[in-house]
Amino acid sequence: MLASLRSSVLSLVRDKALLVWALAFPTIMTLIFIGMFSGIGDAYSAVGSTLGVVRDANYDAAVGLDETIQAISDPESSDHVCDVTYYDDAADARAAASMGDVDAYLTVSGDGTPQLHVTQASVAEGGSLPTSVLSEVLDTHLHTRSAVERVAATRPELLANGRAIKAFTSGAVKTVRLSATKNPPSPDARYYYALLAMAAGMGATAGMESARRLLPTAGPLGARQTLAAVPRWRMLVGALLGAWLCEFACLLVAALFMWGAAGVPFGDNAPGVVGAIAASSFMACAAGALCGTVPRMEAGMISGITCLLSLFTGLYGTASQQLADSIEAAMPVLAHANPLWQTTNCFYALLYYDTPDAFLASCAALLTMAVAFLVLASLRMRRTSYDHL
C-alpha cells in the first residue's frame, strides 16, 4: 500500500495536470478576481448615506424634525445613518441629487409632512435598504408628532413644561445595527468558495489517473500491477490516498493564498476549513476513481462536468448565483446533489452560520457521496478485472 501511495504521489506531483488544475488554476483565478472585485466593496456601500435637506420655513416649522435629522447625522453617534447637506430650496437639492452629490433629499410640505425624494440612480444601485431606514425614521417622527398633537388637543397642560415633549422625542430615533450573520457579509467570498469547489472538481482527474493505472483493461501498466503480490484493494487504497493527499495539499495552499493575498474570509474556524477541504478533495478523488473505471472517459470530460456543475454554485456571476439560489429554493434536492454546491456550502456555512449544523450536513453529504463513488468504483473495478481484457 505504501508503495502504491508513494508512486501515486510522485506521479501526480510530477504530472502537471493536478498542479495546474488544483493549484495554479485557483491561484491565477484568485489574482484575476482580486482585480475584478477591487471595487466591489465600494459598490456595496450604503447608498443613500448622503442626504440632502431643504432647510426652508416649512422645515424649521416642523417640530422635532431637525432634532431627528441631527440625531441620525451625528458622526459621533451610534445612531448615525447618513451625512446631511442643507440646501436653501428644493431646486438646489434636486440639482445636487441629479448630479449625484446626494443620494436622496428631504423636503417638508406646508402641512409639516416630511417627504423623502430618492433618485432613480440610487434605486438602480440597490440603495433601497438605507432609504428604507430613512423612511422608517421619518415615519417614526410623524407618528411621534401625531401623538404629541393628540396630547396637545386633549391634555395641553401636559405639554406646558416641555418635559412631556422631551419624553416623546427622546426615544423617537433609535437605530441599532444588527448582524444577521456570524461574520460581516463579504460580497466576493461566494465566488472564491465556488472557485475552490471548481478546483476540487478539476482535481478529480488525480483520482481518475490513480485508479486507471490499476485497471488491467486500461493498459499494460494496469495489467502489470494486477500481477502484484498484494491484494488489489490495498493498491487502490494506497493510490487513492496518494491522490487525495496531493489534491488536499494543493487546495489547502490555494485556500491559504486566497486568504493571504485576496483577504477572502473563511471565518474563525480553521480546523473547519481544513476539514471542508479534506472532505471536498476526498469526494473529488472518489468521483475520479469512479470515472477512471469508465472506459473511454477522458480527463477533458471531467473538466466539462466540473464546469457545468460550477454553474450551479454561482461561480460565473450574478446570473449564475441567482440560478443557483432559484434551484436551491425550488428543488433543494437537486441543488444538494451537486457535490460542488456542497463544497461551496461548507465554506459558506463556516463563515456565516452560528451553528455548525449546516457545515456538518454538507461535510456529511460530501463523505456520503465519496463512499458511494468508492463503492461503485470498487464494483466496476472488480467487474473489469479479468474477463474484459
Binding site: 508513494r6 508512486s7 493498459g219 491484494p231
Partner: protein, 317 residues
Amino acid sequence: MGACDAVVRIDNLVKRYGDLVAVDHLSLSIARGEVFGLLGPNGSGKTTTINCILQLLSYDHGDIQLFGEPMRPTSYQLKRRIGVVPQEVAVFDELTVRENVDSFCALYVGDRALRRELVNDAIAFVGLEKFEGFRPKKLSGGLLRRLNIACGIAHRPELIIMDEPTVAVDPQSRESILSGIERLNAEGATVIYTSHYMEEVERLCSRIMIMDHGRCVASGTADELKGMIGTGEKISVEVGRMDEGILERVRSLDHVRTAETDGGMLRVQCASGAHNLADVLGVLGDAGLAYGRVLSEPPTLNDVFLEITGRALRDEA
C-alpha cells in the same frame, strides 16, 4: 517429468470468447530451469494462454498449477515467485528508472533494505546504472526495453514470463537482452519466452511449443521440430551458365522440391533426405559441369514454423 518438477502445468485449458475458441484443450508442462519457447502466428492463443496462467483471464475449462499449486487470482504467494515482462513497455512515465524499478519491486518485496539491494542488482543487470535518474521519456527504445525487463525481474522471480521482449530494439540492445535472459536462466530462473524472431527462440529455448488456432501443433527441441517437417536443406551451387536439360535432371531427383537458376547460382530446395547434397553434385558432375562455391543450409526454425502454420497471411479479417 514428475508433477513436482513442473514449474508450470496446464491440463486441458479451454478459453472461449463467445463462439471463438481462443485456447482449445491445451496441455503443457514446463520443468524447472527450462527456457520454454511459445511460438505461434498472431491470434494463435499465446497471449491468451499466458493471461490465463497469470489469472488475468478466467477460463472455461482446465487446470493451471504453478510450482505444484493451483493458480488463483488471489494466489499472492505464487505471484511473488513470478515475474512478467510484457510486450509493451509498462512503466510509470513520471518516475525515474530507479523509482520505477523500486516501485515494481515493492509490489513483491516489502523490506526496504533488501529492496534497495535488489533494485541495484536489477539496474546493474540490464546495464542502466548511468540512467538511474532518467525518466522513461528520455530513454531510447532499447533502454526502455531494458528498463521494462528490470521492472519484471527485480524481485528475483523463479518463473519469468517474457512476451516478445526484443520487439523494436537495435541489434546491440537485443544481444544485451538475450545474453541477460541466458544469465537469468543460468542463475536458475525458469523462462517462458514468446517471440516472432525464430533465431532468438532457437538460441534461447531448450524446448519449444508451436501453437495455432489455440492448439499445440508441435512441441519439442529445435532439432526435434526440424526433424518433424519434410523440409530439408537449401543447396546453393555457383554454376555459371547451365543447360535446361541439366536443370531438369536436378529437378527429377527424389528429394528435390524446387530447383532454379538465379544469376549464375543454382538454388535447390530439398525435402528431408540423407544424401541431398551428394545427389545434386552428382548430377552436375555427371553432366561435366564445373561448379564453384557450394552452400548447404539446414532447415531453420522459421521453415518449421511456416511449414506447420502455413504461409498464408494472418491478421486479416
